[in-house]
Symmetry: C2
Subunit: 413 residues, 2 copies
């Protein structure tokens, strides 16, 4: 079996084939698995890269049925059952799991592709962190640049990524950078959260949404709903109203489009170029091919609504595919996939988070924050990384110190 | 007071001026302090960058007399008492501490500057780590490359840097990569340690040197003494004998030359371009200027032998300069510097290290290794990083797992 992609979907599938006596080859473009829900913490120095990116090969040390390779997929031939790679021999498969993820889409906004900072990959997070540090170094060299907006940040998208990024940036500015750069006047620095819809965190209940807005505002974030970005330049963002927000840092948490490789499959794609799946997560006409995670369009039982692009959906889908292939190998039919929604959480800052279960229970404030921390710690895959994340976490939460705010320039001097 | 450089010497000087009511400006080209003795551990994935690079600004959060800036020094005018920087206004000083460190020198060996990997900065360590991972990924794509030498490493220099790097690489290969890349035949991969002199670790006693050689050989390192590198190319190293070692990875632990800026000072330099100091560590004719650390040529009391380029020398020298400036401020004369040699240690691998005190006491094996770990943990500057290093250490030493062996590509895809 060949698994393309080492995110939650791909890893979920590969790990769970252990019992099934199936040899698995997993190929990812990177040599690590990314714990995507915490990327914003890497971008804002709450966690180090290595707490969020786990060596893929290491995840499978105790799974001899899994072979991991690094490689960039260049083509998938569904008829020949063959995948080609850059700089690596092609691989033929009996079963294929497409778990190739997505990438940011900028909805055609002028200048966004050039200037915006998406936050989907670990490289995105590292890039954003370095950029923010650079802006502060610029301000340290020439404090007059602060009034020109060099420290301003605009965050696009009022979903969890945008809310968490804006909240974490505000705390990074007001707490940590205030200590690191006592000579930089940051009073006029703005962190602006832009959401096109009526409210933040649309999937949450009204009381949660009100709390989130207040918690962000209390932390100095300007929350602007009903605002659409019209144009992005190197020094500013223009809204549809004509208003210009001077900034060199536009964080883009506003939309995903599936990995462009799926366009070559000859399949009718759904919204966001996602691959429509059968109830068992296979592709129509290709019972040996499955799609899971952000690349897939899997409808909620009986509706035309798709499951959201969340790590928990991808992980459960990957596990289900493993289960389905195991059944096939035993000569049994596959079963339809049902997503078990265990709830949604988002954190706004130290001591401030929101959570909501499918049953309608909600949590907010410090309790939600502690719960959020516990859940994410529990989710981090390996004992080692859990230990390290715990250390980072403890220090960040309780001593108000952060780790590793350094930029290692590896260009030749 | 102006301190140029945030290594052991510069930080030692700045921290210790706390009591003296002297305002200190410290400028480094990076925003972090590097714990250089552990760089080889970053290069071989025993530690993460952030365990070895500490945010400089963070080191001085509780030292309001110290202001930290990032900047590249472009010139020092000793007569005008003025230092110029790239992209930053010049700074004039009453006292100046030159702690600008050194860089690798290749003794004119053809091709070394282009192809060798020095190990003096954190960026060097990160670059070497990424390169080694790339070589393994190449071997994973095409195992035939192993016989062509793609996994071979040559390490130049039988001092602590070379010994520690060779030992750690051997363990990385034989233990970790064996698990990560079970399909790569590494039996023919060579790790060759090249030393021009008669023996490794020349500063240690004979029994220690014998032990080190055996411990390295036991770990699969080819120890070659009396060998001089004549030429370096992208695919191999040519020895003076004419022998060619096929390798794409030459680790250079063989020589330092002071930061080239000192050549512009109009001072007669000593060997390795180092700045000769008076007994109180000031420059002759410039009692307001001090030089400490790898950039300085400080003779041992009454001899023409210079103190070695070690972190402990730099740290003590920085502390001494702070002490001297404090005395000057009080109208007292400075005092001569005496280095207190607390001993030298080097580690060869898990459970194998050597140590020797000035009094002639030696330790080797597991006891020395544990002592080495304890000393380095104690030296790591902040509580936070100590905690994190301890976690990394524990896992590396006792569970035989390593942390964070990932390469984050931040180039746009």
């Amino acid at each position: 079996m060949l698994v393309l992609g080492g995110g939650f979907g791909g890893v979920g599938a590969a790990v769970n084939l252990r019992q099934a006596d199936v040899d698995v080859t997993l190929v990812d473009r990177n040599d690590y698995h990314t714990f995507q829900p915490l990327l914003y913490q890497v971008a804002t120095d709450l966690l180090e890269s290595s707490a969020v990116g786990h060596p893929l090969r290491g995840l499978f040390h105790d799974h001899p049925h899994v072979t991991v390779h690094s490689g960039d997929v260049t083509g998938i031939d569904l008829d020949a059952r063959r995948v080609t790679f850059a700089r690596r021999d092609p691989i033929t498969y009996d079963y294929l799991v497409i778990a190739l993820g997505a990438q940011a889409t900028f909805f055609g906004v002028e200048g966004a592709a050039e200037h915006a900072f998406p936050l989907y990959t670990l490289a995105d997070a590292v890039r954003l962190r370095s950029h923010v540090l650079e802006m502060w170094e610029d301000a340290d060299r020439d404090p007059a640049l602060v009034d020109a907006g060099v420290l301003n940040v605009a965050v696009v998208g009022g979903g969890p990524t945008g809310v968490e990024s804006a909240g974490a940036l505000a705390e990074l500015y007001r707490r940590e950078f205030a200590k690191d750069y006592p000579g930089v006047p940051q009073d006029t620095a703005r962190i602006v959260l832009l959401e096109a819809g009526d409210d933040l965190l649309g999937m949450f209940r009204a009381d949660i949404r009100r709390y989130a807005r207040k918690a962000l505002t209390d932390r100095g974030v300007e929350v602007r709903t009903g605002e659409v970005v019209a144009k992005v330049g190197p020094d500013g963002v223009t809204l549809r109203s004509g208003e210009v927000i001077p900034t060199r840092t536009l964080v883009w948490g506003a939309g995903l489009v599936a990995n462009p490789l799926v366009k070559t499959l000859g399949v009718d794609l759904q919204r966001g170029d996602r691959l429509p799946t059968e109830p068992d997560l296979s592709l129509a006409g290709h019972p040996e091919v499955f799609a899971v995670g952000d690349v897939a369009w899997t409808t909620v039982d009986g509706s035309d609504r798709a499951l959201p692009q969340l790590g928990s959906v991808a992980l459960q889908a990957g596990e289900h595919v493993a289960h389905g292939i195991a059944r096939r190998v035993e000569g049994k039919p596959t079963e339809p996939f049902h997503y078990h929604d265990k709830g949604t959480m988002a954190t706004i800052g130290r001591g401030a988070a929101v959570a909501q279960t499918q049953g309608g229970h909600t949590l907010k404030g410090r309790t939600a924050w502690l719960a959020w921390g516990a859940v994410h710690l529990a989710l981090l895959s390996t004992g080692e990384d859990r230990a390290k994340a715990a250390v980072d976490w403890t220090w960040a939460g309780f001593t108000h110190e952060r780790s590793g705010r350094i930029s290692v320039r590896t260009d030749p001097p």
